[in-house]
């Protein structure tokens, strides 16, 4: 049922290898405490969560705008304008700025 092309293991393998290297650099060269890694992972999840929230709010607002535009002007505006990866990238920027603003200085 799940025939995975072995070539598809390349991308996750790269990420695993570079993550291990980064861990070793952090621990051995930079002497970073292991506990902070856990906190960093939590922050990464916060960033992704905020990305999703900004994305949903942006799309929801976009839908409301399209409906209002159609209702007020009588002209057509496509919902598909909202199905654009650029909106995801901009939502990510919003999420990162908000997260750093929200973050307590350690």
């Amino acid at each position: 049922m799940f025939d995975m092309d072995p070539q598809e293991l390349l991308l996750p393998s790269l990420v695993v290898v570079t993550s291990l290297v980064a861990y070793l650099v952090g621990r051995r060269l930079l002497r970073l405490p292991r506990a902070r890694l856990r906190r960093a992972a939590a922050r990464a999840l916060e960033a992704l969560g905020l990305l999703m929230l900004f994305g949903v709010v942006n799309v929801g607002l976009g839908i409301a705008f399209v409906l209002a535009y159609r209702g007020i002007t009588g002209e057509f505006l496509s919902f598909y304008l909202l199905n654009d990866a650029v909106l995801g990238i901009l939502s990510l920027v919003q999420a990162l700025i908000f997260q750093w603003w929200w973050a307590r200085p350690d």
Binding site: D3, A44, L48, W102
Partner: protein, 204 residues
């Protein structure tokens, strides 16, 4: 209320975890392809009175069809050349329809065997326009060429207009790389939202 250590932060982290899971599962498993094939339904290639090709993606600024629109058009021309129907019907926005007609003609389809359905902006408007154009020609059984994810909504709208719809999904196996699978997953989400919207409005 939304202190970084409170429930707000935990909720946002949970949403982040779910997002990461969706990215990993969507990118590195065939989930998107399975949903894609399921939405397309079985291929029902059989003789009909018209081959209907709804719009998808329009044209680029140089008036060349987008990938999806071109795939549909080529698939439809292939079905026409197998003599599965005497009529090829293109709908969509103006530029897309014109580009499809040009492509079909260049592939040997006679102009008088093509119906160019201009003027519809949405899938619902396309179904109404097709009803208006095809009924007088006595067309009741159509071979629908669309992307698998577009099949359920388009099929339901045409069936509601009284057409017998045979599905000929294009690109039914779906993409084979993580980025394209994630893109497909996003399109599936968009299409399912549209499906729910149409149901809520009572259009299907």
């Amino acid at each position: 209320m939304l202190a970084r250590t409170g429930w707000g932060a935990r909720l946002i982290r949970a949403i982040g975890g779910a997002t990461l899971a969706i990215i990993l599962v969507g990118g590195f498993t065939p989930l998107a392809n399975v949903i894609n094939a399921w939405m397309g339904g079985p291929s029902q290639i059989a003789p009909a009175e018209a081959i209907v090709v709804p719009g998808r993606g329009g044209v680029d600024v140089d008036e060349v069809l987008t990938n999806r629109s071109m795939r549909r058009t080529i698939r439809a021309v292939g079905l026409y050349r197998k003599s599965l129907a005497p009529l090829l019907v293109f709908s969509g926005d103006g530029g897309e329809v014109d580009a499809r007609v040009r492509l079909a003609v260049s592939l040997g389809v006679p102009v008088d065997h093509i119906v160019a359905a201009h003027g519809a902006n949405t899938t619902r408007e396309e179904a109404a326009l097709l009803d208006q154009l095809l009924r007088p020609r006595g067309v009741a059984r159509v071979l629908l060429v669309a992307d698998p994810i577009d099949m359920p909504r388009t099929r339901a709208l045409l069936q509601r207009r009284g057409f017998t719809v045979l599905g000929a999904p294009s690109a039914s196996s779906g993409p084979g790389d993580p980025e394209s699978r994630l893109s497909l997953l996003r399109d599936i989400g968009t299409e399912l939202s549209a499906y729910v919207y149409y149901r809520l409005r009572g259009w299907m």
